[in-house]
């Protein structure tokens, strides 16, 4: 069955020359978009049109275009990664939109994620949080036997579920407080559930939360918006685990 062609769409998009410039919304009309195309393909077509007219194309982040790299972002019609659930923007299809729709595209909004250009924000704050404690220290030497350390199936599954976080920043974008707690809790949890993560558990929770606060993210008020919008459906039960880890680390000081 052939995909339906959307004859006309209005795209309202945030344009900002660079980090220092003041941005504004621009409206562009786009015609004949197949519902079978992806959202980013629609933006590619729009950019081609803009280039032909001599207008600077819209800058947006993207890389793998198969939902695993965490590079694409975009706050589309009030939802990070658009109106679909459990997908990233690159996996979002135009069949989620209708003829004549006005689509508003904004960058992630957070003090910790400053806009670099148009729809691209600087998400290196996440890297800094990881560098503060999101790792296990390993001595060099022979490769240890993977089965030498017993891990229960349930723990392995839970660790894997937390490790599904691609660090895209949806949780921060969706949260009314711009809180990074879902991200930090996923990164703490996937190590906390495994024996290898126990050794540095206390310092990890302490340092990652301290870094998160320092970078200007807000605090968690448990609304659950992050879990609802997360493309990988990371559970807020990880946030309870992070709270547990952090509080026990602080109280044992």
């Amino acid at each position: 069955m052939a995909d339906k062609i959307l004859k006309k769409l209005n795209i309202v998009v945030w344009r900002q020359k660079d980090a220092k410039s003041k941005g504004r919304f621009e409206t562009y009309a786009i015609e004949n978009i197949s519902q079978g195309s992806s959202f980013l393909e629609m933006l590619d077509i729009l950019n081609n049109n803009l280039i032909e007219k001599g207008i600077e194309p819209i800058a947006f982040d993207h890389d793998c275009r198969e939902g695993i790299c965490g590079m694409c972002s975009l706050y589309i019609n009030g939802h990070p990664h658009g109106p679909d659930t459990e997908v990233t923007t690159c996996q979002l299809h135009m069949r989620k939109f209708d003829e004549g729709d006005t689509i508003t595209i904004e960058p992630w909004r957070s003090r910790a994620f400053p806009v670099i250009k148009d729809l691209i924000v600087n998400r290196s704050a996440f890297d800094q949080i990881l560098q503060a404690g999101g790792y296990v220290s390993v001595n060099t030497g022979g490769v240890p036997d993977g089965n030498a350390i017993p891990v229960s199936h349930e723990d392995a599954e839970e660790a894997m579920d937390a490790a599904a976080c691609i660090g895209c920043g949806t949780c921060v974008a969706a949260c009314k407080n711009s809180s990074a707690m879902l991200f930090v809790s996923a990164k703490v949890s996937h190590l906390a559930k495994l024996p290898q993560g126990q050794v540095e558990a206390k310092n990890r929770a302490r340092r990652m939360v301290a870094k998160m606060d320092e970078l200007g993210f807000g605090g968690c008020t448990n609304t659950g918006a992050c879990e609802a919008e997360c493309p990988k459906s990371i559970s807020i039960s990880n946030i309870a685990r992070l709270n547990r880890e952090y509080l026990s680390a602080r109280f044992s000081e």
Binding site: G224, A225, S237, A240
Partner: protein, 227 residues
Amino acid sequence: MSKFVFTSVGRKFMMSITGLFLLMFILVHLTVNLLMIFDDTGALYNQGAHFMVSNPVIRIVEPVLGLGFLIHIIWSLIITWENWRARPVRYKKATRSEATSWASRNMFILGGLVFVFLGIHLYNFYIKIKFTGSPLLEEVMVGDTNVHNTYLLVSTLFKESILYCALYIMGGILLGLHVTHGFWSAFQTIGFNNKQWLNRLQWVARIYAVLVAVGFSIIPLYFIIRF
């Protein structure tokens, strides 16, 4: 350690433990209040109220309760301010995620309204009982002890003013909405939650909230209908 209470998790920890303490207080308060609708002479309620002012344990807990309220209110201001600062540029088209509850997104507003109600409530009763006194409070005999006629003070307010009745019903409902989120959120913040318990806690929160909202509203309603 002193900095702990100002970290993002520490701030919420303060809200959580004071909130849990206030949740317990509310249940005690509601229990005593409900004595009002089981005895129209007021003797039962007066006895309950007398117990609350004379019991040494309650007298010790009273300043702690005041402190609990104070911390809960001050920290809510700090948290709201910090969270507001975390997003300097707002969205043009903001999310109204269907998956989040209205109460969870508006805890500060709900709390603020409960705070306004609390001010009026303290002015109506607490200040009169503790400090200024009132002709309605004249002592009456219950059994073989002299007690303040707190029942007359409360019942007069509800019998004479439908506006106050409406206000107290509103107060109960607002508090109920506030705790639908506050109850389970407090457990989440201290780390007592996981995938199994999330649903359970949210259900207990709903039951608790209905109990509080209906429990407090039923008293002015009783006076409207009966008198």
